[in-house]
């Protein structure tokens, strides 16, 4: 493999690692804020225990999310220096703003939240977790804005004197329709991930704690809260995904063709659910299951009279426009990641509906299959998120900045032009060391989360401590210490 391939693998691996932990943080912070708010308002200790219980899992996850995120800030310069030169004028702004606006806020107030249980007044402590919840979502907005510039560059002009893309309008950059749609889609996915986690953990505990007062007073409300949020997230995912599809149809037709493994331009093609074939030779594909009307609706919001361009025709068009190069993404990966993303949604949806049905009235479910169903549901939103990002990012290959059909056509860059001028050996060193360290940490992360979920809410967290301002006597016990 050359440095380009190794760099692509490295960015893919480190980003996917980061995005195992990110959705749980983005979704769980607001959920914990809601739990704590219910406790502060109602004074019901069950919600205090819930806040502490999920708070611990949140912090275990937050740490590794931060750790895996640090690398991303520097990887652009390390492995993609030519890309960084070309887009730095535009791409650097949301990155710097993310640090200045969001990272400072979340890192400072998470410290206040962790250590402030008996130092801050209740309302201020509650405000801290709300600010954390706001900041993690803000940071998502900034970074997705940066990413969406690569998918659909706006507000930018190519300056031939400096040979790089230059920012013309920051408002256009931040109101990029691709960015806005991608942000809400990613936030909905994060809420689905976290709420499914909360619902499933509580559901598992309902069955495990069967017959105890905790099952009905603690875990049942938790499972219902999680399921309601999960259902709402599914609806939001459906609508934001639909908006994204319609944008993609116009802005990135090659990605749309790749999603369907569509070789030749067709009018009203059917949506393919299952195919057999090698995909990357797209004429080899045999379509096994197909659904009519879906695809024209996804693309343009009508059921017929829609022409979708095929990969081979697009390849010819692009060669004429941008010169010789292979412009078709890996069709196998794009086809299957798209289906995995959509298909995996069915499981959390079904689980949330099941939970709400089994807990209707004042019922407390006790069957073991329900507990097992809950456990198997937990990983599905994580996998769907990863599949979605793999589709988004690999669908724009070979571009690192895909040309905008309505923008400056010179604002475009292929990954080959964007990579640093390293030998493969150097990049192998970093690829291997990141992968190994991350692998070890991911195992420890899983061990810790599993340990804490199985241990359940702890004895010492049963009594909410009253807030105490610092006193004059020297030795004041800390409510929490590492």
């Amino acid at each position: 493999m050359n440095a380009l391939d190794v760099s692509r693998w490295q960015f893919g691996i480190t980003t996917l690692y980061h995005f195992i932990f990110v959705p749980l943080t983005i979704g769980l912070a607001p959920l914990i804020a809601v739990m704590q708010m219910i406790w502060v308002v109602t004074d019901n200790p069950a919600w205090y225990r819930m806040t502490k219980f999920f708070g611990k899992v949140f912090l275990i996850n937050f740490a590794i999310g931060v750790a895996t995120g640090i690398v991303q800030e520097f990887q652009f310069g390390m492995n993609w220096s030519e890309y960084s030169r070309f887009v730095g004028d535009v791409f650097g702004a949301p990155l710097a703003l993310e640090g200045l606006v969001a990272f400072f806020l979340e890192s400072t107030f998470i410290g206040l939240w962790i250590f402030g249980w008996t130092r801050l007044p209740k309302w201020l402590h509650l405000t801290s977790i709300w600010l954390v919840a706001l900041a993690v979502n803000l940071s998502a907005f900034f970074i997705i804005t940066a990413n969406s510039f690569m998918q659909h560059p706006v507000g930018t002009r190519f300056n031939p004197a400096t040979g790089r893309a230059e920012l013309q309008s920051i408002t256009e950059l931040f109101t990029n329709n691709t960015g806005v749609a991608a942000f809400w889609h990613a936030v909905a996915a994060s809420f689905l991930t976290a709420s499914t986690f909360v619902a499933a953990v509580c559901a598992w505990w309902i069955v495990r704690a069967k017959g105890t007062p905790d099952a009905s007073a603690l875990y049942r409300p938790g499972a219902i809260l999680g399921s309601v949020v999960a259902l709402a997230s599914c609806v939001a995912l459906f609508f934001t995904g639909d908006v994204q599809g319609k944008l993609m149809f116009h802005q990135q037709p090659m990605k749309m063709a790749a999603a369907e493994s569509l070789c030749h331009t067709e009018t009203d093609p059917k949506f393919s659910v299952l195919t057999v074939g090698t995909h990357n030779n797209c004429d080899s594909i045999t379509r096994v299951i197909e659904v009519p009307y879906v695809l024209p609706f996804l693309a343009e919001g009508k059921f017929s009279g829609v022409t979708l361009q095929g990969a081979k025709d697009l390849q010819q068009q692009y060669e004429q426009k941008f010169g010789p190069e292979w412009y078709v993404p890996n069709l196998f990966v794009t086809y299957w990641s798209f289906r995995a993303m959509i298909g995996l949604l069915a499981i959390p949806l079904l689980f949330a509906l099941t939970t709400l049905w089994l807990t209707r009235g004042r019922r407390v479910p006790e069957s073991r299959w329900f507990a097992r169903f809950a456990l198997w549901t937990i990983p599905t939103p994580f996998l769907a998120s990863m599949a979605g990002w793999v589709f988004t990012e690999m669908g724009r290959q070979p571009w690192v900045v895909a040309p905008n059909p309505d923008g400056d056509p010179l604002v475009r860059l292929t990954v080959r032009q964007g990579v640093s001028l390293h030998g493969p050996g150097l990049v192998w060193v970093s690829l291997i060391s990141f992968t190994l360290l991350y692998a070890v940490l991911a195992v420890v992360w899983f061990y810790l989360i599993r340990r804490y979920v199985v241990a359940g809410p702890q004895e010492h967290d049963s009594e909410p401590a009253p807030p105490t301002p610092p006193r004059d006597d020297d030795v004041a016990p800390l409510s929490f210490a590492y």
Partner: protein, 347 residues
């Protein structure tokens, strides 16, 4: 003053904030183990007391680095691209070390087991020692210059560009300075036995820190400095002497203020020696990467200036307030018993 000058200063200020705040974080991480060994009472409690002096704030301190990196990217993309693609290995080691430190700090108390804590302490130590040395090496390399070619890329990098007496001295100087800064911070933030031990450490570290920082400062000034950086060097030396005197007489507040001034002066000396270059070229001074040929467009700089003007004071206010909230000294006696789960194999 032009926007390019302003942004050179802003990036300098972000690194200044990073080195002052992470300086004592690194120091605490480096000295935690030794405070445990020095303690007459329970070593584990003393280590925890030390670690918890930075408990609520270390994460926010680290963001100064992330934001400095982002600011380099936004304001000087060529600087960002050239430096990080060239100083690849040091940066890789720094990143790996910092990843280990972050999770080690956060996960240390999650499992109540000596072996578990020992592994976390190793992670904290590595994650504090290595960056403390390597940041000094990296900045010394930068001030010294790199073989930047005409297209702003580094060509034909040799080992002596990176490893030479000057850069190694830079690494030792920052390491000693951060350890001293950390010891002084510990003395300021702890009480009882831990405090006594921290004061002893600070006294022990004061001499090597003074010698190394003075040596590195003088070398930088003679080899790369300009006329006005003599004043900065003088401030650094005076502040360092004041810090040594104050640490000896256990006036921790003054000692901490002094080491803070020393770090600020060293960063200003380095950035002042660099200005107006971003990376001086060792091939031909005509190829120097400067704030003029390495910056973003005026529009981007203007937008980012507005953002910095609005948000930086806000950050300073709420971070300062956090330090105020957790202002009380920590005693070994104020550390609560461990609430971690016992180590058990997952069946």
């Amino acid at each position: 003053m032009g926007l390019q000058q302003i942004w050179f200063i802003i990036v300098g200020v972000l690194f200044l904030g990073f080195f002052i705040l992470e300086g004592f974080d690194f120091g605490v991480g480096m000295l935690m183990h030794w405070l445990g060994r020095m303690s007459k009472g329970d070593a584990e409690t003393h280590r925890r007391a030390a670690l918890n002096t930075i408990g609520p704030v270390w994460d926010g301190n680290e963001v100064w680095l992330i934001t400095a990196g982002g600011a380099m990217f936004a304001a000087f993309p060529h600087w960002y691209a050239t430096v990080f693609s060239t100083l690849y290995l040091p940066l890789l080691v720094i990143l790996l070390a910092m990843i280990g430190r972050i999770v080690a700090i956060e996960w240390r108390g999650k499992i109540d087991d000596p072996k578990w804590r020992n592994w976390c302490d190793i992670g904290i130590a590595i994650g504090s020692w290595l960056p403390a040395i390597l940041w000094g090496v990296a900045f010394a390399i930068l001030v010294n210059g790199l073989p930047v070619g005409p297209d702003k890329n580094v060509v034909g990098l040799s080992v002596t560009d990176v490893l030479n007496p000057y850069t190694l001295l830079g690494g030792l100087a920052t390491c000693a300075l951060f350890a001293f800064h950390g010891a002084v911070f510990l003395a300021l933030k702890t009480g009882g036995d831990v405090h006594t031990d921290a004061v002893r450490l600070a006294r022990l570290l004061s001499i090597p820190a003074t010698v190394l920082v003075a040596g590195f400062g003088l070398w930088t000034q003679f080899a790369h400095g300009t006329s006005w950086t003599w004043a900065v060097l003088a401030v650094a030396v005076i502040a360092q002497l004041a810090a040594v005197a104050a640490a000896g007489g256990t006036r921790e507040g003054w000692a901490f203020l002094s080491t803070t001034v020393v770090i600020a002066a060293v960063v200003i000396l380095l950035f002042g020696s660099l200005y107006p270059n971003l990376v001086p070229s060792t091939i031909d001074r005509a190829y120097d990467l400067t704030i003029y040929n390495g910056s973003s467009s005026p529009y981007t700089l203007k937008v980012m200036t507005w953002a910095a003007v609005i948000f930086t004071p806000l950050v300073l206010v709420y971070q300062g307030w956090t330090y105020w909230v957790f202002r009380k000294r920590i005693f070994a006696e104020s550390i609560p018993p461990s609430i971690g789960l016992p180590l058990r194999r997952v069946p």
